[in-house]
Symmetry: C2
Subunit: 264 residues, 2 copies
């Protein structure tokens, strides 16, 4: 078998939907939410028979632990431009995530050429001046050995217990093994940085994702992407986190939003 | 039968899921997307047996026309705080929308009291100084007879062919018959204003919603709500529209985001 990248290997799904939640894509033992979404989408896009996840929504129902898993799903509608699929990733007798997604072909899409952009990539120092997520050891995770995540130094005060009070987390993202980014991997990017609320004075503890939606807007160019995640509104025990992902050409390649819970 | 509000009447779903897509909730004959979401959620929350739609995602697959319809769905997980349901609204042999949603009880939810708000309600003139959507006749719709929608005068230049170039649409929302807003009706609010892209120089034509997600963050206080919808990024034939809905007490009660298509 040809050598594959770590991400490709970790998102293989067989024709019958059987797969593995791979070890080493976790935060303290629980598989990363973006990884679970990418794994499910890897199986569902085969069912859709279209290459790119254009909009994917996942509800997070049970933590994913390494081991045997299965992607199930069915086509709701195969349209002219998108195929909509409803499905799930299941393991250990539980549904880890329930998914509703539309797949398309972004590269060959003959779309309107109208462009209007009110925004720009986050202003980040060069990669070598940004902070490796794992550097300070505050959140040592196996996941970070597979990823090249470098945070804006001004957004890492929480690693030293100094929270800025602004719910923003920006940084660079790539794969540690140099695998180029594609549309599937943008689902992982959408949940790969530390939560933006770590820069707010929230109660400490786990901040579980209820729901995550990712819009993949374009095929990323080669090179690392710049991301920024922002939480503006925390109340009622809930908050949103909105993400933007920009490729090396300065193209917006994904938007994400999740609903998450404060520790109780 | 006791007299009900127009919205309550239009979102009745029987125990077996049978319902009606009611006339008069349309834009040029196609039922409004927020109304379809509210109708589906009305049926699905009974299946969930929890009152409030907390996060609802709908994929729009076929236009809804007045007539017999059915809400189908099943519980994916009934958890401690939320019940997740997968379902659909179907009519005329087609799936109008496919839905993935989590329901909870926002009023009785014993949540963290931590609050951090980086944002405020849109700055709107008083209702009587805002512009009725139907006033200028550019988009005469039956829907607007049922709703009290008043737009920020600075966002209505498109009605006169004068587009501001900024993808923003803000306004007041209430029901014309005075029905108080509840969490179900916030799903309607999320799609009730004219598209924010009407203030950009987009090609003219229908801008179909691919996917809409609404987070209901709190039970609205009595009185009309203030909303703002923004589109920042239009490229590749697609755009997002992000909405905020604020109640009369200045509480953020809903966030929405949709992925929509430019005319081709």
């Amino acid at each position: 078998m040809a050598s594959m990248s770590e991400f490709d290997d970790a998102t293989v799904v067989a024709d019958d939907g059987t797969t593995q939640i791979h070890d080493g894509w976790d935060i303290n033992g629980n598989a990363n939410g973006g990884y679970l979404m990418a794994l499910a989408a890897s199986g569902l896009r085969r069912i859709a028979d279209r290459p790119d996840p254009v909009t994917v929504t996942a509800h997070y129902l049970a933590p994913g632990r390494p081991g045997d898993a299965r992607v199930t799903g069915s086509v709701v509608k195969a349209g002219k431009r998108f195929t909509t699929v409803s499905g799930a990733l299941e393991s250990g007798g539980r549904t880890n995530i329930q998914v509703l997604a539309a797949f398309g072909d972004l590269a060959s899409n003959a779309a309107s050429e109208f462009v209007s952009m009110n925004g720009a990539p986050p202003d980040l120092p060069p990669i070598e001046q940004c902070t490796p997520r794992e550097a300070n050891g505050a959140v040592p995770t196996a996941l970070m050995n597979r990823l090249m995540v470098r945070l804006h130094p001004e957004h890492t005060g929480w690693l030293r217990g100094e929270r800025s009070g602004t719910g923003e987390m920006a940084g660079w993202f790539g794969f540690a093994d140099g695998r180029p980014l594609d549309t599937l991997s943008l689902l992982l990017v959408a949940d790969a940085l530390p939560p933006a609320v770590f820069n707010l004075d929230i109660p400490s503890g786990w901040v579980p994702t209820v729901e995550l939606t990712v819009h993949v807007r374009a095929v990323p160019a080669p090179g690392p992407v710049r991301c920024v995640f922002r939480t503006r509104f925390v109340h009622g025990g809930m908050f949103e986190e909105d993400g933007e992902v920009w490729d090396a050409n300065g193209t917006l390649v994904a938007l994400s939003r999740q609903l998450a819970l404060l520790p109780r």
